[in-house]
Symmetry: C2
Subunit: 559 residues, 2 copies
């Protein structure tokens, strides 16, 4: 039997749109003569629906849509559909919703495999919503026996992971049934299907592939995973659906960061073997572009505003926006004060020219002066300091939001992860915006991505890349006045924010003075309140700010 | 044996401070001749520590502190200590931390009861962190048998709740052991101890008491619950620790919204019976005051700024701030534009006078004009609209933050829940601030609380209470231009936001046109992006905005 993996980009809650897309891909799969077409986890409602799952009407609507999709499978020659959706539970105890793989065949819901392992770490909250499966069963589709798993169900293999997160391994259980349960299955090719909504972060694609290859080898099985693609708020799903042979070799691989449909035939395991190496910088770029495009469009917008300072962060965000939405949908706004260098304004203009985007210059000197004049009676006798510095980005934020309100364009936030970590950013100032595009990208990686943008020609002015980074909020200011150089800072932050290392561990690991490390960690702790009011951050690392990292504010923490 | 319940207010992560407090209360209990002093859930580290639990050093520090506290129990005549803390697990599978009640007696850790039921709904994420207990045991302290439970363990009684959330009832299991396990226990008085960190919301105190009384009656047991008190970010713990007799009567009740130490003696069940009726408005006031005080102080601040518009929301927040922090720590700032009525400025001044707080007037006409002048080339030919309206609160937000930066005072946000629900508030404008004090209080309840403030004398000017609400962002504006009257709006919002009713259910329940309901629900859906960048909201209802309500932004939702 030929099986298709349909790697689609659903929108959360858009039942009509998602159903239409499912039938469109099912029709394409039918034309390719497949017996089964497999869709990602929660394809019917989009992943992650979060607390929408607590609304009975949402779950009821998903059940109706699944019944409508089943109708499509009635016709002669139509493939069966395996797709992710939610269903109500009948149990009188526990959670009232199930996360399931629903098999639609012959016009009806013919089999349901409930998800057994519910992730509840980092960005995942599935135990909040779902009742876990207590049992699993193999199923035959068109005479072919299949083991069906939902995402996390395949992620608890004791031979692959140093520590199991759950006491059961659903794959092991299903494979145990393969020969024990029925004489019919003895000697038949083992097949594990996995429907997933497995988000991207740096290195995830390789982990996923190694893990699935280990499963294939351990169980002597074909493993086929259909993964969701697309951005939903902070999460970017890369797709990269895979088919892996029992020897661990990749037989078929779908596109990364784009919708795709791939077909494999278990009788012809060699066909189309196309293992694609991953370039980490390119993958992160693709993730940021897709995440930006989908956030803006799924929110119902087409245009964006980016404040252009002449610095590298806003330049990179503008380049991402142009790739995501087209140059005609990006407006750059320069808002210099007297502390902005002439070079910075030139750099911003050159960037806009290179990108081909509209550029507006709104010098904020006079508004800044007016604020200072108004505050003068209260500020009299105090030195120019943080209050005056922060006025400038807050005026800029207010201007960007005024343009947003007037012209219906979303503001993109340009702060990077090094800044968000240390609080080197102004709440309601440069933190203003609908989406923190590079809020999970450390400054050193901002440089790497900018060089990637310039790989064939100068898009981001080389002057922007080569000058020392500065917020330009007071005369002659440089980032290194307040922070260690980014080559020293970023590894400290990465160790603390992403790996929870202690000050002593970091000092030893990186050969840095522990007092310096501690001063950086204190900045991280002191700025939690800013991050909790930040725009959603596109997650591209193991640990980003937002829902996956939940720290209290009113605390005493020793670092 | 006499037992003391020590209702303390710990600070998350402040191990030294919390340990000092625990020993202070233990000493006071010792002086009262008790055999056991019981502290709340996670008293050692404070609740909720959230992702701090994922740091091994945090858990290790808690274990060290528990060992230090055990030392105290070495002395002759010292009571045993039962207190909540975290410990590492030894298991090779699953989560690596346990939420436990640790019995410290005779200088050592003599017994550990791990929490079995881990809540994972609304604001609770305990399955993210903790490995649940698989078994429980009775323990004898000074010859007295006791059943020890941790918070949620007591909240799954099938005779009390219409639907059980968990398949096991730890209390039922423990009571089953009472006579089955040992002849010694036959006929002995049953005692259930419960250590809790059970946050306040409207009506919770009554639910808690009814539920514990039902447990007492069902099992013929004394039930004694030691609850945490104090504000930790969004959550306010009310304390209200209780001792309930086997007949369901309250024998002792600790203070609400304040630290307390109460003692009971099982041999003398009638002593100190002091059931206190709850006034819902007064309780909510107390919660808001305590939540504000603890947030400000635990963040290391003493002073706050409140923008005073002359309207009722900012007036109520200022009154709460004065009660929480003292009038000398509150600064009111009036920031009128040309659309502010003279009456409003007078009302703001009168409020400040009545409260005895410093008042600063910063008229923002000129800054507003300067912004409009700067934007004029871009806005030319467009009508005065949302962009111009929103400039005004954003200028005010910028001024408040400048004062905050300059003088080290936190800004309190003054928006109410009706506004946050409908998006009738300006992101980076009136939403600016460290804490959304009344962000979980609907407008109609803002009036009730304001009348409560004025119960003995006029604090909030009656003019402020009686005039029609207006944002005063354009000439003659009133809230009812954009929204239904609050008496109609608030019940719709309550049904949708707090009870997840559908448009049809609400229309029927409240006798309102379904099209009107739908238009309100669309406002709620459209403004999710604002709420995700809001300041932490003090939770005072079953469902408040923030961590307990997790909705995606980039969605298509039908209402």
């Amino acid at each position: 039997m030929k099986i298709a993996l349909a790697q689609i980009n659903p929108t959360v809650g858009d039942f009509a749109g998602n159903a239409k897309k499912i039938l469109e891909y099912a029709s394409r799969a039918e034309a390719l003569g497949v017996g089964l077409v497999v869709f990602p986890e929660l394809a019917v409602c989009g992943y992650p629906p979060a607390d929408l799952l607590e609304k009975a009407s949402f779950v009821a609507r998903a059940e109706e849509v699944a019944a409508e999709l089943a109708q499509w499978t009635t016709g002669v020659g139509r493939p069966a559909i395996l797709c992710g959706t939610v269903m109500a539970t009948k149990a009188s105890v526990g959670k009232q919703v199930r996360n399931v793989a629903a098999l639609l065949d012959g016009g009806k819901l013919s089999f349901v495999q409930q998800k057994m392992l519910l992730p509840f770490y980092d960005v995942f909250d599935e135990q909040r919503y779902f009742e876990p499966a207590v049992e699993q069963a193999l199923v035959c589709v068109r005479g072919e026996p299949l083991a069906i798993t939902v995402c996390e169900d395949a992620w608890n293999d004791k031979s692959f992971w140093p520590r199991q997160m759950y006491p059961v391994d659903p794959v092991e259980k299903l494979m145990g049934q393969w020969e024990a349960q029925s004489q019919d299955l003895v000697g038949r090719q083992r097949v594990i299907l996995n429907i997933s909504a497995s988000p991207y972060w740096q290195g995830k694609q390789q982990v996923r592939q190694s893990m699935l290859a280990a499963l294939a080898r351990r169980h002597g099985a074909f493993v086929a995973m259909a993964n969701q693609v697309g951005g939903n708020d902070s999460l970017v799903f890369d797709g990269t659906s895979l088919v892996i042979r029992p020897d661990g070799e990749v037989v078929a691989q779908a596109a990364s960061f784009a919708e795709d449909l791939i077909v494999f035939d278990m009788e012809d395991g060699a066909a189309g073997a196309v293992e694609k190496p991953v370039d980490e910088v390119a993958a992160m770029w693709d993730a940021l572009v897709l995440g930006t495009r989908d956030y803006v469009r799924k929110c119902g917008f087409s245009k964006v505003l980016v404040g252009l300072s002449g610095g590298i962060d806003s330049a990179l965000v503008a380049a991402i926006a142009v790739e995501a939405l087209g140059k005609e949908n990006v407006i750059g706004v320069g808002m210099p004060t007297e502390y902005s260098s002439l070079g910075s304004i030139e750099d911003a203009k050159n960037l806009a020219k290179n990108l081909g985007v509209r550029f507006e210059l709104l010098p904020v000197h006079d508004v800044f002066a007016q604020f200072q004049f108004l505050l003068q009676p209260l500020f009299k006798g105090t030195p120019f300091g943080l209050a005056e510095e922060n006025l400038q980005p807050r005026i800029r934020g207010t201007l960007l939001m005024a343009l947003s309100n007037k012209f219906g364009a979303l503001v993109l936030t340009t702060g990077n992860k090094s800044e968000m970590s240390t609080g080197y950013c102004t709440l309601y100032g440069d933190m203003v915006g609908a989406l923190a595009v590079i809020g999970d990208v450390m400054k050193t990686r901002v440089y790497a991505l900018s060089r990637y943008v310039n790989r064939t020609k100068e898009v981001i002015p080389w002057e922007t890349i080569s000058k020392p980074p500065s917020a330009e909020l007071r005369p002659g200011q440089q980032d290194t006045d307040s922070l260690p150089p980014y080559e020293v800072l970023d590894p400290i932050l990465e160790a603390y924010v992403e790996r929870y290392c202690s000050a002593e561990q970091i000092a030893e690991e990186q050969g840095v003075d522990v007092a310096l490390v501690r001063s950086v960690l204190q900045l991280v702790e002191k700025s939690e309140y800013k991050r909790q009011q930040a725009a959603p951050v596109l997650k591209v690392t193991r640990k980003s700010f937002g829902m996956g990292r939940r720290f209290p504010i009113a605390v005493k923490v020793q670092v």
